[in-house]
């Protein structure tokens, strides 16, 4: 199958929430080389781009939708934007819902925009992640 504009509006909600742990935040901060003390300890907050990691379980569902026929190894990230309500903290249980917002085609390349809303266990909105990806369907 392939992806086209009729798939705009499809939503994917991760089956399980993501429990944000202190060590995961530290590991992520180390991986981006950021020594900021805000990202360490029991009261740590997550670095801003960690929001993308939290959107990944919903993206995985989008990638697994057989009607879209997407493959991770053919995807290149074109643009990314975040709107933050508050930082993600240790102990947050984060739910993610991704919605396809735009699909454009240029030959074998599909440009897909999707928006992921991150909410805490009690329904508080934490952040919105908007990603644009290019998917190349050409045989290589």
């Amino acid at each position: 199958m392939t992806i086209d504009a009729t798939m705009v509006g499809r939503s994917y909600t991760a089956a399980e929430s993501y429990q944000v742990g202190r060590e995961k935040i530290r590991e992520f901060a180390d991986a981006i080389g950021d020594p900021n003390p805000a990202y360490r300890g029991d009261d740590a907050v997550a670095p801003p781009t960690f929001a993308f990691v939290l959107s990944a379980p919903a993206l995985d569902l989008l990638l697994a939708d057989p009607e879209l026929g997407l493959r991770l190894d053919r995807i290149v990230h074109g643009a990314q934007k975040f709107n933050y309500v508050r930082p993600i903290r240790v102990g947050d249980e984060v739910a993610a819902t991704a919605t396809i917002t735009t699909v454009r085609k240029a030959g074998d390349v599909e440009v897909i925009m999707y928006e992921t809303v991150l909410t805490s266990g009690d329904g508080e909105q934490l952040a919105t992640s908007t990603a644009t990806v290019s998917h190349n369907r050409a045989d290589s």
Binding site: F28, A31, N36, V45, P47, V76, H77, K81, F82, Y84
Partner: protein
């Protein structure tokens, strides 16, 4: 913090990304796309070689702002376009990216900051912009 006004330049940041950093980021982020660790697959997809995760470059660019802010909670909006790939060679030298940032305008308690990321002679991020709360 000193006065924030249009034209204020933030302290720049230089980051070197090596293959091991891509492996570490892949593990920490869960993004195991092979274009970030496998030359064969990167080249098959038309890339010059293994490229850094755009999200890793974006994370480093954010540091210019969060280092300056001190409190990451003051970042309210942050967006970039990935305009050129950061090709990371399979050597010990890696790829060096230099980040700088400047306040574009201050309106109603918010500062809009433009961020520049240079790798070699080229900008690797386009329209990299952060909005932060300022008191």
């Amino acid at each position: 913090m000193t006065t924030i006004e249009a034209g204020t330049e933030l302290p720049p940041l230089t980051v070197t990304i090596r293959r091991e950093d891509l492996v570490r980021y892949a593990g920490a982020s869960g993004d195991f796309n092979p274009i970030h660790w496998n030359d064969r697959m990167a080249i098959a997809l038309g890339l010059p070689g293994v490229i850094a995760h755009g999200m890793l470059t974006m994370a480093s660019a954010a540091r210019v702002v969060t280092d300056w802010l001190q409190n990451p909670a003051d970042l309210v909006e942050y967006g970039v376009r990935f305009t050129k790939p950061v090709v990371v060679p399979d050597d010990d030298k890696g790829a060096t990216v230099t980040f700088s940032a400047k306040v574009d305008k201050v309106v109603d308690g918010s500062a809009e900051i433009d961020i520049t990321a240079i790798f070699g002679d080229e900008k690797v991020l386009g329209r990299a912009r952060a909005v932060v709360r300022v008191s």
